[in-house]
């Protein structure tokens, strides 16, 4: 129902000579009526109307062809690209059908690919459990230890009758997930330590933290990875190599840690001094104060930038292609070197984008949930 503003009955009686009365303004109409909503939001003014018409025109122009391309005249299943070459054929999803094993698992031996599947599920399970505040206790550490250890055994093998698979052959989604989940798990504490260190009174700790944060933040991730992969081997004796995966992983953790440190420092500085003083007054030591009073409040304040950092890190793992690792994006790229399927690269990239979106969207929604959950009582 749309309600129009009507002058108050008393106002109608007021004399004209009296000083202009300030009418109480009604709250903006909150109408559930579709027409009313459209009138106020879409056609409220002339520029608005023009914009609406332009947007409508664009939608009509693009949406039906897009739906037609993606769903109606698309080829869903075909063993060869011949079916996609016919005239008037839309998206060739058959490329995904033919390449999904390589896209998802990379170079991992074909017959053994159930192992990365199980391992990925283990990680997703552990993340899901950790996301639920009901399970927040020390037992979570046990869950994580079991998952990390178990998936390590699964992925490497070499015991329990599983053939050994060297980690150069890991790839695709499991690699991307492991790099991000373990990367976050290590970078987060590192970042907190660096943030605390930067605000420390001890000059040595403070300068080490500042140098680390500023040095790492001052260079792009791609150059950190590049240094790790190209420069380090030159300094080592011939034949001695550090595992490529480990090199990339360390690079990612160091890089993300520096950014997290700055986000956390923002939270630390936003806390009123009184909190620190109160903790001191209670006679808490430094670590007690930090663990019980400061961090719980500071981190809650910086959930949005932290999650932002995690999301961007999840996507940044795709830069490990520079070290020759086959993460999710690189496996698509490699799958597309097949000249037969190369012309259908858009479809393959759309498939991968959907996977990335799924994970990032989950993180975004979860952070919103977490903010609501943790902010009970202090909502402003």
């Amino acid at each position: 129902m749309s309600t129009e503003y009507k002058p108050h009955p008393e106002d109608a009686l007021s004399h004209v000579e009296e000083p202009a009365t300030v009418y109480p303004v009604n709250p903006p109409t909150k109408s559930l009526d579709l027409l009313g909503w459209a009138r106020s939001n879409l056609f409220g003014s002339i520029p608005n109307t023009i914009l609406t018409l332009v947007a409508l025109f664009l939608l009509v122009e693009t949406l039906p062809p897009l739906i037609n391309w993606a769903f109606i005249s698309s080829v869903w299943s075909s063993a060869t690209p011949d079916a996609c070459r016919a005239d008037g054929v839309g998206a060739c999803w058959a490329v995904v059908q033919n390449k999904y094993r390589f896209i998802l698992f990379g170079l991992y031996p074909y017959e053994e690919q159930w192992r990365p599947v199980v391992s990925t599920l283990l990680y997703i399970f552990a993340v899901a459990v950790s996301c639920n505040p009901r399970f927040w206790s020390r037992r979570l550490l046990v869950v994580w230890a079991v998952v990390v250890f178990g998936s390590g055994i699964l992925m490497w093998g070499g015991i329990l009758g599983l053939p050994y698979v060297e980690n150069e052959k890991w790839g695709g989604l499991p690699l991307t997930l492991m790099l991000s989940v373990l990367g976050i798990a290590l970078a987060f504490p590192l970042g907190i330590l660096a943030a605390l260190g930067r605000r420390s009174d001890l000059p040595v700790i403070r300068s080490v933290s500042v140098v680390y944060i500023e040095l790492v933040r001052g260079v792009p991730l791609i150059s950190v990875l590049f240094m790790a992969s190209v420069m380090i081997p030159l300094f080592l004796p011939e034949g001695v190599t550090i595992n490529k995966l480990l090199r990339a992983f360390i690079g990612i953790v160091l890089f993300t840690g520096a950014y997290i440190a700055e986000a956390v420092r923002g939270g630390l500085q936003a806390l009123p001094r009184g909190q620190y003083e109160a903790a001191d007054a209670l006679g808490l030591g430094y670590w007690q104060k930090t663990r019980l009073i400061i961090l719980p409040q500071a981190i809650r304040l910086v959930i949005p930038p932290l999650v932002n950092q995690f999301i961007s890190m999840f996507k940044d793992t795709s830069l490990v292609f520079i070290v020759g690792l086959f993460d999710l994006l690189n496996t698509v790229k490699t799958a597309l070197t097949d000249p037969l399927w190369r012309p259908y690269y858009v479809e393959a990239y759309v498939f991968t984008a959907l996977i990335y979106f799924l994970f990032c969207y989950f993180m975004a929604r979860y952070s919103q949930y977490l903010e609501r959950h943790l902010n009970t009582g202090v909502r402003r």
Partner: protein
């Protein structure tokens, strides 16, 4: 004292020359490790790319398999390390890989300053032009003012500019970073011509354009791209092994020895060249520091050069490349193996 030193050096030199099977550090390290580590392209169809099941395939890959067959008698004993273009030289210099078999052009700088030793080309490539027939152009010299699609960040771009400048022609280059996108741009008609390595152009003509007969590759080849595997400076024996592994494959084709008939040929061969190649007449393996069956194992397990060419890049594959420069020397090509003796 001086005379003594001189004598000692002479003795050392003689004894060094006598034991030609002196084991170099790389061969020792490879044998101890139990596998050859081979740097390959992260994905270049026909040269080195993983198939749907993650097995490496391609003519660059086959060189490494052949070396493993020569050293261990087992072409499976090789680990492939995919390398990006930036990584490849360091990976070899630092000892991360034993062989770099990654679609790398043999140039003077790389052969000297970069510390690489190129064995022998396994594919002779060169930059060319692909145009639509509608354009009515018969030679690259007629491309004055043409819009040319080219991938960025490669020497291809430089060669293109140089060629147009040298011939006093006006160039409109459309530079795009991703291969798929350059292909799409050409297919969509955004440029009159597409320049890249001829092998690449052939595969684009065969797979990416809607109708291959509407497009031709112009006869001019504007650059030399001898693609060759390489090893580190400083280990001549390993250099010899990789080089002669490739020559064994080329000789195999020259003498008509294939993976299918190698067993019969080894029994019935009368040609002394073939007998030495397959180890029926011993001596060659010892000279290389390898088993006498090295040549037999290469051809039995990997095949001769023609076989790997046909299986990976030949007319029956999606790349559909003709032999051209890569035919045997007596068939108009450049593949020429020195005598095995």
């Amino acid at each position: 004292m001086k005379r003594f030193l001189l004598a000692a050096t002479a003795v050392a030199t003689v004894s060094f020359a006598a034991t030609s099977a002196f084991a170099g550090p790389t061969l020792d390290a490879v044998k101890k490790r139990g596998e050859v580590i081979c740097g390959v392209h992260t994905g270049l169809a026909g040269f080195s790319a993983p198939d749907e099941k993650g097995n490496w395939k391609g003519i660059d890959v086959d060189v490494c398999r052949a070396v493993a067959a020569a050293v261990f008698g087992d072409d499976k004993k090789v680990k492939f390390v995919p390398l990006s273009a930036q990584q490849r030289l360091t990976a070899l210099q630092s000892g991360e890989v034993d062989i770099l078999s990654r679609n790398t052009t043999w140039t003077l700088t790389r052969d000297t300053a970069n510390g690489l030793n190129f064995t022998t080309p396994n594919y002779y490539d060169g930059q060319g032009f692909l145009v639509t027939k509608k354009l009515g152009v018969k030679s690259a010299k007629e491309l004055n003012g043409a819009t040319v699609c080219v991938q960025t960040g490669t020497t291809t771009e430089q060669n293109l500019a140089d060629y147009f400048r040298a011939n006093n022609m006006k160039l409109n280059a459309v530079t795009i970073e991703k291969l798929e996108e350059v292909n799409a741009a050409y297919v969509a008609g955004r440029c009159d011509a597409y320049t890249s390595d001829a092998s690449q152009l052939a595969s684009i003509r065969a797979n990416d354009v809607p109708n291959p007969d509407d497009h031709i590759i112009l006869p001019e080849i504007i650059s030399k791209e001898p693609l060759a595997p390489s090893v580190r400076h400083g280990d001549d024996q390993w250099f010899d092994i990789v080089k002669w592994t490739q020559y064994a494959m080329i000789s195999g084709e020259e003498y008509g020895v294939t993976s299918a008939n190698v067993d019969d040929v080894a029994k019935t061969a009368t040609d002394p060249n073939v007998k030495r190649l397959l180890g029926v007449t011993p001596g060659m393996g010892a000279a290389l520091g390898l088993d006498e069956k090295w040549g037999y194992n290469i051809i039995k397990q990997v095949g001769n050069y023609a076989e790997t060419f046909e299986a990976n890049v030949g007319p029956k594959t999606p790349l559909k490349l003709e032999r051209g420069l890569n035919a045997q020397w007596n068939k108009g090509g450049l593949m020429y193996a020195p005598p095995v003796r």
